[in-house]
C-alpha cells in the first residue's frame, strides 16, 4: 500500500500505523501529547471544584511522582534507551510525551555522561501563569516541578543530583522559563 500522508481517503479495514507517513505519525503523536496535558488540566479543575486548590495540588504532585517511573520506562523502551547515567535521562527526556517538543522549547547541554544542563526556553504553564496567576507559577515551578523532576530522574538513577539554576519568575520580560542542572558525583 502506498504511504498515506493523512487519512482523508477511504476507510481501510486493516490499516496499520505503519501505513502512514512519518509526518502523519508525528502529527498524531503531537496530538496525543497535547491531549495528555489537556486531560491533566481537566482533572485538576474537577479536583479544585470538589476539594479545593491545596488538596488538588497535593493530588497533582502525587500523580506525577507516581506516574514518572512508568513514563520514563515506556519512553526508554520505545526508543531502546539503555543506561542509568545523566545522558540516558537527557535522551529520554527529549521525547517524553508529557514534555513534548513543540509545546515546550528546551535545550539540553550534555557536558558528559554524568553532567548536563536543561534550559527550558518556553513552557506553556510559565507563559499562562506569568500574567494570570504568579503564585501558582511559583508553586508549579518550585514545588511541583522540583518533585516531578526528582521522581523522573530517580527512575533512571536515584543518585542523579538535581539543582535548580533558574526557577520561577525572575522579573525580566524575555526570561527563560527555567534551568536545571543534573549531575552524578563519581
Amino acid at each position: 500500500m502506498q504511504e498515506l500522508k493523512d487519512y482523508s481517503g477511504p476507510f481501510v479495514r486493516n490499516i496499520k500505523f505503519e501505513d502512514f507517513s512519518k509526518e502523519a505519525l508525528g502529527r498524531l503523536l503531537q496530538a496525543c501529547c497535547k491531549e495528555i496535558l489537556v486531560l491533566d488540566a481537566y482533572w485538576q479543575e474537577q479536583m479544585r471544584k470538589r476539594v479545593g486548590e491545596d488538596a488538588a495540588r497535593e493530588c497533582l504532585i502525587e500523580n506525577y511522582t507516581r506516574i514518572g517511573k512508568h513514563e520514563m520506562k515506556w519512553t526508554m523502551e520505545a526508543l531502546n534507551i539503555k543506561g542509568n547515567d545523566v545522558e540516558a535521562y537527557a535522551k529520554a527526556n527529549q521525547f517524553l510525551p508529557s514534555f513534548a517538543q513543540g509545546f515546550f522549547d528546551f535545550d539540553w547541554d550534555v557536558k558528559n555522561k554524568n553532567h548536563a544542563i536543561l534550559t527550558v526556553q518556553r513552557c506553556p504553564a510559565f507563559t499562562q501563569f506569568k500574567e494570570q496567576d504568579p503564585e501558582k507559577l511559583e508553586w508549579n515551578c518550585h514545588v511541583l516541578e522540583a518533585a516531578a523532576i526528582k521522581a523522573y530522574a530517580a527512575a533512571v538513577n536515584p543518585d542523579i543530583q538535581i539543582k535548580a539554576l533558574k526557577v520561577g519568575l525572575g522579573g525580566k520580560p524575555d526570561e527563560i522559563a527555567c534551568q536545571w542542572e543534573f549531575k552524578i558525583e563519581t
Partner: protein, 187 residues
C-alpha cells in the same frame, strides 16, 4: 541523516521526531498512548485512595464529559479525517491514541456503509481489571464512560447514527471478546 531505528546511540542535542524511523515513531506513539491512559488511571487511583470511590467516579465522569470532544478533535485534525458517516467514525477510532492504539479492534462495514460492527477483541483496561479483580474500575470504564461516550461520539459524527451495545464486560472466559458495538445509519 538516515532514519534512526531507535535512540540507543549517543545523545544528539537537535534530534527531532522525524529523525526516527516509522517503526520507532509508532513505538513512541504507543508509549504516549500508555502515558495518556496511564495518567488518567493514576488520577483515578490517587483520588480513590484519598477521597473514596464516589469522588473518583464523579470526577472521572465530569472530566470525560468534557475531554472526549478534545480527544476526538485533535487526532481527526492531525489525520485530516472528515465526513459524517460510519466509515469516518471508524477511521477516527482506528487512529485515536486513547482507543485504537491500546486495543485490538475489528471493524466491519456493510449495507453500503450504513451498518457498522465494531468488536474489541483485546482490551488492556479489561485485562487490568480482571487481573486485579477491580469491578469498580471495570464499571467506571465500561458502563459509566464508554457506554455513553461511544454513543455520543457516534451522534457527533451524525445524529442519525444509532448505537446498540451487543456485548459489554464482564466476560465468562478470557478467550471471549471484550465488547461489541453496532452502529446503524438510518437513511
Amino acid at each position: 541523516m538516515a532514519d534512526l531505528e531507535d535512540y540507543s546511540g549517543e545523545f544528539r542535542p537537535d534530534l527531532k521526531l522525524t529523525d526516527f524511523s516509522k517503526e520507532a515513531l509508532v513505538r513512541l506513539l504507543i508509549a504516549a498512548s500508555k502515558m495518556y491512559l496511564g495518567a488518567d488511571g493514576m488520577w483515578t487511583t490517587v483520588i480513590r485512595q484519598r477521597y473514596g470511590d464516589e469522588v473518583a467516579l464523579s470526577c472521572s465522569k465530569e472530566v470525560w464529559d468534557t475531554n472526549w470532544k478534545q480527544e476526538l478533535r485533535r487526532p481527526t485534525q492531525a489525520m485530516n479525517i472528515h465526513g459524517n458517516d460510519i466509515a469516518s467514525m471508524f477511521k477516527y477510532f482506528q487512529i485515536d491514541p486513547g482507543f485504537a492504539v491500546m486495543f485490538d479492534i475489528d471493524y466491519e462495514l456493510r449495507d453500503d456503509g450504513n451498518y457498522g460492527l465494531m468488536t474489541v477483541t483485546k482490551c488492556r483496561t479489561l485485562e487490568y481489571c480482571e487481573r486485579h479483580g477491580d469491578d469498580w474500575l471495570l464499571n467506571l470504564a465500561c458502563n459509566e464512560l464508554d457506554k455513553p461516550l461511544i454513543a455520543e461520539t457516534a451522534r457527533f459524527f451524525n445524529p442519525e447514527i444509532k448505537t446498540t451495545i451487543l456485548k459489554l464486560p464482564p466476560r465468562k472466559s478470557k478467550d471471549d471478546i471484550a465488547c461489541q458495538w453496532e452502529f446503524k445509519l438510518e437513511t
